[in-house]
Symmetry: C2
Subunit: 201 residues, 2 copies
């Protein structure tokens, strides 16, 4: 950045530019925006960032982020605790909760197996999942990792560990996205859609 | 946001969503990213935001953001202090400095006249500009506000105040963007390009 900028503004710009999906130009715009906020508003924003680590930790059951011992979903008496949906990250839970279809509980792996990036089973919350099965009376585990190479192999690996425990392991259905058109469907998706076709009633 | 999220994360997401150009989805991604940063890195980020107001203020001459009394541009002996470029906001200075063509100094208005938004001359750094002319020996003022209705009328208004002071007032040239094509130029730009045509040498 040119010398015309004050050093604290340059430093703040660099901080913003470290965030995912934010380039130098956007980062600069954000830094100027903070400068245009009231000092009190900037303080509130800064506090929200500074305190997040001390206030938020992992739920002892489902491993989702929470500010309590057990997160609201795991603590809810209205949810089906025999059905667990295994996801890669906490933001996947927001997607499921947004659809309002799923009434079971969750387990967050906090990553996917990836030999390329040196991420092995010990780096994921897999032991924590296995330990939940018996005490919580879990009867079905839905593997809801993304349909990528890492997602598939992680689902496969965990399902092999779960089956000996006598629990039903299922996988999210693959097929055409609702509202999508055949024209734009890729080959793999189309193959899955044909393979998993259902009888019309 | 669904109940599945920890309150501090919801609050942080809302803080990010207040920033310009960041929607709820991006804001959530950024909040999760802060959660994945080390506690020390989050602290550094928060401090950069919290301290910006106390560390950065307006340069006493050019009104740009600075952490000193006089900003480096206004203090530089290598720049032409008789030539002042008047801009709407500090980020416009970065654009000029990036082009490395301009060697004068700047004056930041911190806004444009806008009767619609109730912004009058007293809300801009206009008096500060008029006070600089004589003591600093300024001979030319380039009005470099954007070519919008507000930018044009602000330039016009200020030029009328400057002319009685015996200073030359100029306006940035309008025309085709370099590298652009006629096909995509709008009518107004094309009209300006014809009106301001130059003899080829």
């Amino acid at each position: 950045m040119p010398e015309s900028n004050a050093l604290p503004l340059v430093l703040l710009t660099e901080q913003f530019a470290k965030l995912p999906g934010i380039g130098m130009k956007s980062a600069q715009r954000l830094a100027y925006h903070v400068m245009s906020m009231s000092e009190q508003d900037a303080k509130t924003f800064a506090d929200a960032i500074a305190n997040i680590h001390s206030r938020v930790h992992l739920c002892k059951r489902g491993q989702n982020f929470t500010d309590k011992d057990i997160c609201p979903v795991c603590a809810s008496s209205k949810r089906d605790h025999s059905l667990v949906c295994v996801v890669e990250s906490p933001k996947d839970i927001s997607a499921f909760e947004g659809s309002r279809e799923f009434n079971g509980v969750y387990h967050v792996l906090h990553g996917l197996l990836s030999p390329m990036e040196n991420i092995g089973p010990q780096d994921l919350k897999i032991t924590e999942l296995l330990k939940r099965i018996e005490p919580e009376g879990i009867t079905e585990v839905i593997m809801a990792t993304n349909p990528t190479v890492e997602g598939e192999s992680t689902a496969m690996y965990i399902s092999k560990l779960l089956k000996p425990l006598g629990v039903k392991v299922t996988r999210l259905a693959f097929g055409l996205p609702v509202g999508g058109t055949l024209e734009y469907a890729d080959k793999e998706t189309l193959n899955e859609a044909i393979k998993n076709r259902n009888e019309m009633k």
